[in-house]
Amino acid sequence: METPSINRRDFLRGNLNKSKNERILNDTLSPYSYPLDRKTAAHLLRRLSFAPTLQQIDSFVGKTAQEAVTILLGDPNNEYQPANSPAWINLTTENPYGADIYTRFQIEGQWKSYHSNLQTWWVNLMIAEQTPSVEKLVHFWSNHFTTEFSYDDAYIPPQILFRQLAMFRKNRLGDFKQFVEDVTLDPGMLVYLGGNLNTNRKPNENYARELMELYTTGIGHYTEGDVKEAARVLTGWRVARYNDEPARNGIYNAYFQPTDHDTEAKQFLGRSIPARDTAFNTEYLVKTEEIRTMLDILFDVRKVAIARFVSAKIYKYFFYSNPNEDVTDFINECGDLLIQNDFKLYPLFYAMFSSDHFFNQQIIGAQIKSPTELICGFSKALKKGIANIPGNLSAMEEILIDPPTVQGWEAHHRWITTKTFPNRVKFAKDLVNTMTDDELIAFIKIYPAYDDAVELVKNLCLHLLPFLPNQDVLDKFTNITLLQNQPVYEWSDMISDKAPAVRGMKALLIEIAKNPAFQLC
């Protein structure tokens, strides 16, 4: 049976004397004050980035958690927008929904291929990324502020989704209130949740509800009346999607349509937003005096709910997606910190990832990898590119920027079903099988003492799995799978001969990928 090794900290805390059953997750935001070792460095990299290369782990060993987290988070004021973009991001089209069916299908087909291309481009960014880790945070926010590429029987032009990712990148560690304001007027969001159809004559409540239920407070902190009033505040915003629509702020951007805005007074969460004279019914004034005021009210009246809700979302994505009541105090502590910092995200992320709680034995290895994490991690570790990124993501049920519902992916056990599990293993198998002999031999040689089969298996497992499997499994990996029942001293000859080593190594990598621990990080 696997027993996670007891580290010095556990020893100092006296955890050795406690039965594991009784040990609860009561660590706080207090900083983890021990230098990182291989296991803790890998843990941090797996969670705050997309799995580490061996060199990355080595470069973090010996650093404090705070030093490592500082490097990983980078400069919160730097947007780190990628140097290269897909070629199609500024292309425009006519409105497919007014056009004949042939034109419509042609345009939608084009969008589908752009959306595939966007996923490929984005995942390749994740795979290539070293430090700072930007795209992991973008991935998180993209699943918080959800947008579906295909919604109802229409599509959101991927040009808009590309811009949305850039907006997430900009805000990823910034001021959460500003972030919510940007999301509220984000063209993708306006299209997705009906904001662009929201008029003074017929308000559309869709975004107003999700703003609170899914993006800030969580359910139960507002009335149906608040939803209606918020919808009224948000009336009048439009998006320039097609070349036949007015593009007052440029194509693929939002603009304000004064005649569609409800200028009457609104009552939101018990406070009022005054009526406005038509002379002041302008984009700038409505944005600053109404939307910002509404968000000010929301973030003031419901600050505790928001801070805890967002902290819990971060916790579930990065720490553990099925926490029990044990962690309530920790979440509340995170919420308090967010409020103290006036909803600035950087101090929260910094404190959370360098905390005792994050390095607790109950957190390490407990998270089920999202398909993105699985794909990026394995590709990065093997240094092997993936041929069909959108196809693989779809088979594992995570089509990026196209979640099944506005709630985003539920993660945790929903990732692993009798449908997706075989596809996860198949992905790993296929990737291993596309590696050439030379690529595999080169991969073997990155491990220290690679010519010792026992050491190689151990190091490989430490790299690819959260904990070392037990001795029985290691022995089986070494003797049966890698060495194919040859004596252990034959391994270096097998490497020289190439073919038997390649055969054994492929079998070993596939066997590791079939181990349940491979799905965890």
Partner: protein, 541 residues
């Protein structure tokens, strides 16, 4: 922390068993259960319509002038120049099918099903203090627990709890055939229980079978860390997938769909729900002993462009697919001879607001209509018509206990009448005593049922020659037993006892005088022990 205990027990079991572990028990979900449990070969199909189906544009009160007033742009017009686009009256009621449920559908769709006695329309279904969030309301529907406290986490489905009760050893001992099968998507909460998933999610049967055999023989992991728990969970899914791979492959190969009923399984050309229903039909015909199937159709969140005045739009297209899928499935089931064992039920998290919005759509609402289909349903329309004069402060149809139907009554009927559970079983599962809405007759294959089954139920009503409002109820018992016959109105409200006595084996005819009751449809429910049979009586005055 039951989950923890379970996994701990699992670790021990794993240690005792050898490497490849999960012991398979030679037990099948149909037929091997204890007294108060499932004892028949009945099958339930649930069709989940995600997004909140617009009940008012599904079963339409077209004669109510307010309907057209509040929906000037999206109402279905009775005077449409194209006759195929007019609503279709349901029996002699004043409610109408949306034409998309009837026209251009296999064998006249829902109209054909109603005429053949295979469709029950259950109006005004919902719950008190309605929640307008898709997710919370879906959770309330799938859990079968009506709670207005948002802090109450809903993690398990009523189907999951039903089987959890019947399979105390699960998942260490798993049934030979999957208990529940979900077509597509991640496994629904409906099939989750305290003991983990009671079901299996598969996408495409071919690829499920082809890609099977992926579990490694990794050992169970000891300890109670989150890591160990998750590891063991993943391991059990992998093993389950492998074990079920075989039985599904077998059923798939053996099964068939009736020649001439083309579900377009290969390419999904008739829509995903039609395809799913075709797969389900083929698996049942191939002998799969799964008890509950879950099919899905999304897109009902019609905030925008729901439909125009000529019924073009997203909602009619969805209704069209729904009716086609159900009608084709029933035709296939009848022709292949398993129809008497199957009942289907639709669920959707809420209906939509009576007033249309400014985008030719509708926003989230409250009560809505659901359907039950099968040869064993009471083909009729249940529940009161929508009342536009009784709206709540959001402008949604108010839920009125006296007029509307608590959604859990659909489930208690399934638990009791369909699967043969007791009222106590139903109470355990729904955590509340919920009177079943009598829209079903029990499946014909209950071996221990003392009531003789005539092939169309064990209870029949015949009118007196002299009066249409009195007559006789006929039934035959195989052995002496206590029999109760209760009367319910179309809202499912108790309307009196017709009979309550110990009787001897043989034929019986009980006189019934309905003259004291108002016009309308009534359901007579005969019960003895856990067995129930129903029949309907129409009173006309």
């Amino acid at each position: 922390m039951k989950r923890r205990t379970l996994l701990k027990a699992g670790a021990l079991a794993g240690a005792a068993a050898s490497f490849r572990s999960i012991p398979l028990f030679a037990q099948n979900p149909i037929g091997a259960l204890g007294q108060n449990a499932i004892d028949n070969d009945a099958i339930l199909i649930i069709i989940q319509m995600f997004g909140g189906n617009d009940g008012l544009n599904t079963i339409i009160p077209v004669d109510d002038p307010r309907y057209v007033q509040i929906r000037p742009n999206i109402s279905v017009k009775k005077d449409n120049v194209d006759a195929t686009k007019r609503p279709v009256r349901i029996l002699s009621s004043d409610m109408y099918f949306h034409p998309a449920l009837v026209n251009g559908v296999h064998k006249n769709g829902f109209l054909g099903l109603m005429d053949a006695g295979r469709l029950a329309v259950i109006q005004g279904t919902g719950y008190e203090n309605p929640n307008l969030s898709h997710f919370r309301s879906t959770d309330i529907w799938l859990s079968g627990l009506n709670t207005s406290d948002p802090a109450n986490r809903l993690n398990e489905g009523w189907v999951g709890r039903m089987f959890e009760k019947n399979y105390p050893e699960f998942p260490m001992v798993i049934p030979e055939h999957p208990l529940c099968l979900q077509l597509g998507g991640s496994l629904s909460m409906l099939l989750q229980s305290d003991k983990g998933d009671m079901g299996l999610a598969i996408g495409d049967v071919d690829s499920f079978v082809k890609d099977g055999g992926t579990s490694s023989d990794s050992p169970m992991m000891g300890g109670t860390s989150n890591y160990a728990n998750e590891y063991n969970y993943i391991r059990s899914i992998a093993a389950k997938g492998d074990a079920y791979n075989k039985v599904i492959e077998e059923a798939w190969k053996k099964g068939t769909n009736t020649t001439g009923i083309d579900f377009a399984i290969a390419n999904g050309a008739k829509g995903s729900l039609v395809r799913q229903m075709g797969i389900i039909s083929r698996l049942i015909s191939g002998g799969l002993k799964t008890k509950v199937y879950l099919a899905n159709i999304g897109g009902f969140d019609t905030h925008v462009q729901q439909q125009d005045t000529s019924n073009n739009g997203q909602h009619p297209a969805l209704l069209n697919q729904l009716a086609n899928a159900v009608s084709m499935f029933m035709d296939d089931a009848v022709q292949q001879g398993f129809a008497n064992r199957v009942v289907g039920l639709t669920v959707s998290e809420f209906g939509r607001r009576p007033y249309e919005n400014g985008s030719n759509g509708t926003d989230h609402g409250t009560t809505s209509v659901q359907f039950a289909f099968g040869t064993r349903v009471q083909a009729n329309i249940f529940g009161a018509n929508p009342d536009f004069s009784d709206l709540d402060r959001n402008g949604d149809l108010a839920f009125d206990m006296n007029r509307n139907i608590d959604y859990r009554r659909l489930y208690s009927e399934i638990i009791q009448t369909w699967f043969g559970g007791s009222a106590d079983d139903s109470k355990d599962i729904l955590k509340d005593r919920v009177v079943p809405l009598p829209y079903l007759q029990s499946p014909i294959a209950s071996l221990n049922d003392p009531i003789m089954n005539y092939g169309n139920g064990g209870l029949r009503f015949s009118n007196d020659i002299a009066s249409s409002n009195s007559g006789y109820l006929h039934f035959e018992v195989k052995k002496d037993c206590h029999v109760t016959i209760r009367l319910y109105d179309s809202l499912g409200k108790f309307a009196g006892n017709l009979f309550d006595s110990y009787i001897i084996a043989g034929n019986h005819s009980i006189p019934v005088d309905m003259s004291v009751h108002a016009s309308g449809m009534y359901i007579c429910e005969l019960s003895t022990g856990n067995f129930r049979h129903t029949t309907s009586i129409i009173v006309r005055k």
